[in-house]
Structures are given as structure tokens and as C-alpha cells.
């Protein structure tokens, strides 16, 4: 297991290098001199030349690239053009806010999606199966922004049960420690705030969970149906094992690997693709951070944002790969 983990981690190095190259190339493909952008239209030639030298932009591209990598390895993501602050400090709270939203959404999607898929396969061709699969089809085809707006209209405006936007009550802000508000409020014993934070999470996470939930449900159902025809499932039944355990122990463990792949990919997509949801619900996450940066042409922020999201995506897939081995003992022996 250890050697496999180490080998998998080492195999990430080329992927990460490739990622930095692409991000670096994209930024350099944008026409115009960043120094000009920073200083604005009315800057003098001298000041632009001075800043170009300061930023190292007069160096050949490979020197710039190595400087960039060197800074990255020191955890330095550069400086925001807009705020002049270090990006690695600025990006953090936004990133954590997005991670909190994504985690809640994907947990909802997994719990409901996997169970709906299992029950649909167990009682295939029952009314539950048909209903669940129709809902899943609707879920996959639903545009998230429309669902988000409808949710806001119904639950916030018409019924007044849930807040429309934001993460917390602005008049009673959460004292941030880790910036995962559910966790912060709990360890501070502020259960009233915990409730408020939870209420703020419901609508955006439900909107975000819909598509992955539907995909997970359909995937689980398909693989479970396949697995439940296997000989070892018949063996488990012949032992006198209750159907619940036959399904949830023997079948699920065999059916879960393709589902895990989907969960990993969907989690990555949620992290990077939450911009729409975050804008609708005013969620101060990395989506909004990037959206603002694009508006101000804050290239270093855009560059770092893309890099961070891509790195997390790669990391999630690493975790999924390691989970495969924990679940299926045959994997580590095949190579």
C-alpha cells in the first residue's frame, strides 16, 4: 500500500509540471505588456520599463518560468494587481468557503444518490425505480442557475424559510478560525450561529448537489444491477444472509468503484464550476474571487486561481485512486 501510494504521488509530478506550463503559457499568450496593464493608459514609457524590469518581464520566457516555479515552491502565488496583496493569503478564505460548500453538496449527492441507486437496483422495475430514474433524468438536464433562482424564489421569497444569499448573518459575523464555518461555530460553542450557517448552506448546496446526485444515482443503479447477477451474490444468499446485507455489504462494495470515479470527477467539477452557483447565492468562494479578478483583468489572480483549482482536481483523483486499492485488493497486484 505504501509503495503504491508513493508511486502514485510521484506520478503526479509530470502532471503538475504540465499544469504550470499551460497556465504560464495562457497568461503569456495574452497580448500586451502586463506592466502597461498595471500602470494604466497614462503611464510614462520610463515607468513601464522600470516595472517591466522589476517584474522580471524583460527576461527570456524560460527564466521567467523558472522564477515562477521557484516562487510556487515557496508557496508564493504572486501579488494581486488590484489589491497589491499576496495572493496566497488572499485566496485562502475564498478557497475554504468553496471547499465547505462543495463538501456539503457532494456529501448530500453521495448519500441520496448512492442510496437511490441501490434501492432502484434492489427493487428494479418497481415504482421507486421508475420514479427515481425519472427524477435523475430531470436532475441531469436541469440548468443549475435556473434551479438556484427557483429555489431562492420559493424558499426565500415566497416561504421565507431560508436566506437568499451569503454565508452568515452579516450583523453577527462568525469569528473565523479555519474558515470552515460549520466547524468554527461548533468549536466555539455558538450553536445559534451554526444554525444560521447551516441555513445559508442549504439552498446553494442543494442546487450544486442536483446534477452529481442524479449522475451518481444512475451510475450506482447500473453497476449494482450488474453486480447483483454475480455468482458470489448467489453464494451470499445461499448462506442465509439477509437481503439487506447481501445488497449493502456484498453488492455495494463491488459496485462502488465506478461510482467512486464519478464522485471524484464530479467533486472536481463542483470546485471549479461553482462560479455560477456562487454568483447567484452571493457565496464568497473562489468562483466569485475569480469572477471579480476577470473583471479587473487581475492576471496573477486568474493564473493562481486556475492553478489552485487544477491542483485540487488532481489531488481528488489521487485520493480516489488510493481508495480503489483500499476497496479492491486485486488492483495493487496488477502492476
Amino acid at each position: 500500500m505504501l509503495t503504491y501510494t508513493v508511486r502514485r504521488i510521484f506520478s503526479l509530478i509530470p502532471v503538475l509540471i504540465g499544469m504550470t506550463l499551460i497556465v504560464f503559457a495562457i497568461i503569456h499568450a495574452i497580448p500586451g505588456n502586463p506592466a502597461q496593464v498595471i500602470l494604466g493608459q497614462r503611464a510614462t514609457k520610463e515607468s513601464i520599463a522600470e516595472l517591466t524590469r522589476q517584474l522580471g518581464l524583460d527576461q527570456p520566457w524560460y527564466i521567467q518560468y523558472f522564477d515562477y516555479i521557484k516562487a510556487l515552491l515557496h508557496g508564493d502565488l504572486g501579488v494581486s494587481l488590484r489589491t497589491r496583496g499576496p495572493i496566497n493569503e488572499e485566496i485562502w478564505p475564498y478557497l475554504i468557503a468553496t471547499i465547505e460548500l462543495t463538501l456539503v453538496a457532494i456529501v448530500i449527492a453521495i448519500i441520496i444518490g448512492v442510496n437511490a441507486g441501490i434501492i432502484s437496483a434492489w427493487f428494479s422495475k418497481s415504482w421507486f425505480d421508475y420514479a427515481a430514474m425519472v427524477f435523475a433524468l430531470i436532475g441531469v438536464s436541469m440548468p443549475i442557475f435556473w434551479l438556484g433562482l427557483m429555489g431562492q424564489w420559493l424558499f426565500s421569497i415566497e416561504l421565507g424559510w431560508l436566506p437568499t444569499t451569503g454565508r452568515e448573518n452579516v450583523r453577527d459575523p462568525v469569528a473565523s478560525i479555519t474558515n470552515i464555518y460549520l466547524f468554527d461555530t461548533l468549536i466555539q460553542g455558538r450553536f445559534d450561529q451554526f444554525k444560521v450557517v447551516l441555513q445559508h448552506l442549504i439552498l446553494p448546496s442543494a442546487a450544486l448537489a442536483t446534477i452529481p446526485m442524479a449522475i451518481i444515482a444512475r451510475m450506482t443503479r447500473a453497476t449494482m444491477l450488474e453486480v447483483m447477477k454475480s455468482d458470489y451474490i448467489r453464494t451470499a444468499r445461499a448462506k442465509g444472509l439477509r437481503m439487506f446485507w447481501v445488497v449493502y455489504k456484498h453488492s455495494l462494495k463491488n459496485a462502488i468503484i465506478p461510482v467512486l470515479t464519478v464522485i471524484g470527477l464530479q467533486t472536481g467539477l463542483l470546485l471549479g464550476g461553482a462560479i455560477l452557483t456562487e454568483t447567484i447565492f452571493g457565496w464568497p468562494g473562489i468562483g466569485i474571487y475569480l469572477y471579480d479578478a476577470i473583471g479587473y483583468r487581475d492576471y496573477p489572480v486568474i493564473q493562481s486561481g486556475i492553478l489552485v483549482i487544477a491542483a485540487i482536481f488532481v489531488l481528488i483523483n489521487l485520493v480516489v485512486d488510493l481508495l480503489y486499492v483500499l476497496i479492491d485488493p486485486r488492483i495493487k497486484y496488477s502492476k
Binding site: S230, D231, T235, R237, A238, K239, R242, H250
Partner: protein
């Protein structure tokens, strides 16, 4: 061994839905398994052997399968009335089953120990440690070396023969009264086959578990069974004592099967086979179902279905008109068509 029947199948009819029709897979078979005996059920693929045994486990997939009529009497009660809850106390506890494919019959993602201990703890109140001790005992019983190590291994780390031994150990976990073995040696090579058969014979003698051995190989039957049932197209065509049937088969189908067994001592000649195939369920056959492939067919066979007739020796029964003719003192006038 005494002659008390422990499992009786009476006039069992099972059909499978195909489209809108129900096609019979087992068409009214009756037999009994006596306490402590090894009973062979022989027949080609599609003759209804496996379906019959699955019915005795309450594992006919439904839909599409359906038991139409008949009784499955175990221990004095009809299992057709058993609820799923009743079945849970019977399966793996009173009646166990091992399957044809040892390669795929064990769950690949759980260790041997996990699967064995599970089988034990479903039906007992053993603690994990007690169940583990019992697993070790069982694995020794089925002749597995380095028992402790095997418990931590996964099925893919074992050979086919070893896996089948594990399957047998699992089936024997709760000292079942009946063990149904559905072609347990078909997927194994010959030397391993002999070992597995010897093991089953041994278990039968040690624990007095009655065994139903389903096979298409009369050689296997000859090796360990006491009585044998020959099935054809969902019907019993001949049943009786193994020695009698092997020496003096009455039904042309049984004769054909016996001729199809390769003989090491005999001259090298082309192996005989029975021409044609088992009629698929749903094909309407007038008269005897074997008539189309029978070498000794005559007119009556094509219009009427023969009953099971008692033969000269006690308990030997044959479903063939040839036999009644002899019994009635008639001259057999059939000519091969």
C-alpha cells in the same frame, strides 16, 4: 444410514417467463433424498437439474421464475409455504449449496476469513473469536494447508481447487443436514476433481450430511453416489441404485449417456454421442420427450408420454414403454425409425 427421507420433492413444476409465455423448465419431477445418502442427479445442460436444486434453496429468481405446482418437503414441512424469514433460517443452516464456478462464487473483495466467519455467525451466536476458531477447524476439515494464512487472503490468491474447498467449508459451517453440490467439479482439473469428490464422500461419512450431487458426468456418480436420478427435459427418466443403473441401464437415454463416457482401457475409437439436443423449454413435444433422439423409438412413443414404471429391482424406476412391454409379457415390436 437409514431410509428416512429428509427431503422430498413431489410433482414439482417450475417455469420461467419468456416474453408473455411461461416455459416449463422442470415439468413435474418427484424424488426423495434419504438421511445420510449421496444422491446423484444426472442430465445434460437444460434438463432442469440446477433449477430443481435452486428451488430447494428458495433461490429461484422470481420473476422470471415461478414454481407452478408441487411440494418441497423438508423435515416434515412444505417449504413452498416458507416465508423469506423462514428461508433465512434454512439456507446455509439446514440446507447448504455449493456451486459450479469456484472462481466466481466467492466475493473477490472480502477475505476468506471474513466470508467464512460471516457464514458461521449468521446462524450461531458465536463471538468473532469463536467463529474464527470454528473457521480454522472447518478449513482443516476440508484439507486446506496453512490455515491461519488463508484466512487473511483474498479469493484471487487461491487456486480453483482451494476455492472450492473454501466453498465446501463455508457450506459445512453450520453442519447442514443437506448439502446440494451443483456440478462442484466441472470447472476443476481431473486430479483436483478426484480430491474434491473424496472430500465430499469423507464429509458425508463423518457428519452424516445428506448430499445431492448434480452433475452431467456419470463417472462422478459412479465414484461416490449410492442412488442416481437421470433427468431429461424437465422430467425424471430413470432412477435407482447406482450399481444397477450403471450395469443395466433401462432407459435408452441412460444407455446413451453411459456410452458417451470415455474409457481409458478400451480401444481408441470414436466416442459415442447421443444425436440431437435437449428440446428447449416451450417446444411442444407429443409423446416421449426423448423420442426424437431415441435409437429404439416406436409408434407409441410419439403419441403418449410414458409413466415412471417400477422395474424388477426394488426402487428402480424407468420412464419408457420398452419396459412396460416386457413387464406385460408383450413382445417388443418397436423398430428404429
Amino acid at each position: 444410514m437409514n431410509n428416512e427421507p429428509i427431503l422430498q420433492i413431489k410433482d414439482l413444476k417450475i417455469s420461467f417467463q419468456s416474453g408473455k409465455r411461461f416455459l416449463p423448465a422442470v415439468d413435474g419431477i418427484s424424488f426423495e433424498l434419504r438421511e445420510g445418502e449421496i444422491l446423484g442427479i444426472v442430465g445434460e445442460s437444460g434438463s432442469g437439474k440446477s433449477v430443481t436444486s435452486l428451488a430447494a434453496m428458495g433461490l429461484i429468481p422470481s420473476p422470471p421464475g415461478k414454481i407452478e405446482t408441487g411440494e418441497i418437503i423438508f423435515d416434515g414441512r412444505d417449504l413452498r409455504n416458507a416465508s423469506e424469514k423462514d428461508w433465512l433460517t434454512i439456507r446455509g443452516n439446514q440446507i447448504s449449496m455449493i456451486f459450479q464456478e469456484p472462481m466466481t462464487s466467492l466475493n473477490p473483495l472480502f477475505t476468506i476469513g471474513n466470508q467464512l466467519i460471516e457464514a458461521i455467525r449468521i446462524h450461531t451466536h458465536f463471538s468473532k473469536t469463536e467463529a474464527k476458531a470454528r473457521s480454522i477447524e472447518l478449513l482443516k476439515l476440508v484439507g486446506i494447508p496453512r490455515v491461519e494464512g488463508i484466512l487473511k487472503e483474498y479469493p484471487h490468491q487461491l487456486s480453483g481447487g482451494m476455492r472450492q474447498r473454501v466453498m465446501i467449508a463455508m457450506a459445512m459451517a453450520c453442519n447442514p443436514r443437506v448439502l446440494i453440490a451443483d456440478e462442484p467439479t466441472t470447472a476443476l482439473d481431473v486430479t483436483i476433481q478426484a480430491q474434491i469428490l473424496a472430500l465430499m464422500k469423507n464429509l458425508n461419512q463423518k457428519t452424516n450430511t445428506s448430499i445431492i450431487l448434480i452433475t452431467h458426468d456419470l463417472g462422478v456418480v459412479a465414484e461416490i453416489c449410492e442412488r442416481v436420478i437421470v433427468m431429461y427435459a424437465g422430467l425424471v427418466v430413470e432412477q435407482g441404485d447406482v450399481r444397477t443403473i450403471l450395469k443395466k441401464p433401462q432407459h435408452p437415454y441412460t444407455k446413451g449417456l453411459l456410452k458417451a463416457v470415455p474409457d481409458l482401457k478400451g480401444k481408441k475409437e470414436r466416442l459415442l454421442s447421443i444425436p440431437g439436443t435437449v428440446p428447449t423449454p416451450g417446444t411442444v413435444v407429443q409423446g416421449c420427450r426423448f423420442a426424437a433422439r431415441c435409437a429404439e423409438v416406436f409408434e407409441k412413443c410419439k403419441s403418449e408420454i410414458p409413466d415412471l414404471y417400477q422395474s424388477e429391482k426394488d426402487g428402480h424406476e424407468v420412464r419408457c414403454f420398452l419396459h412396460t412391454l416386457k413387464e406385460e409379457g408383450d413382445e417388443h415390436v418397436g423398430v428404429p425409425s
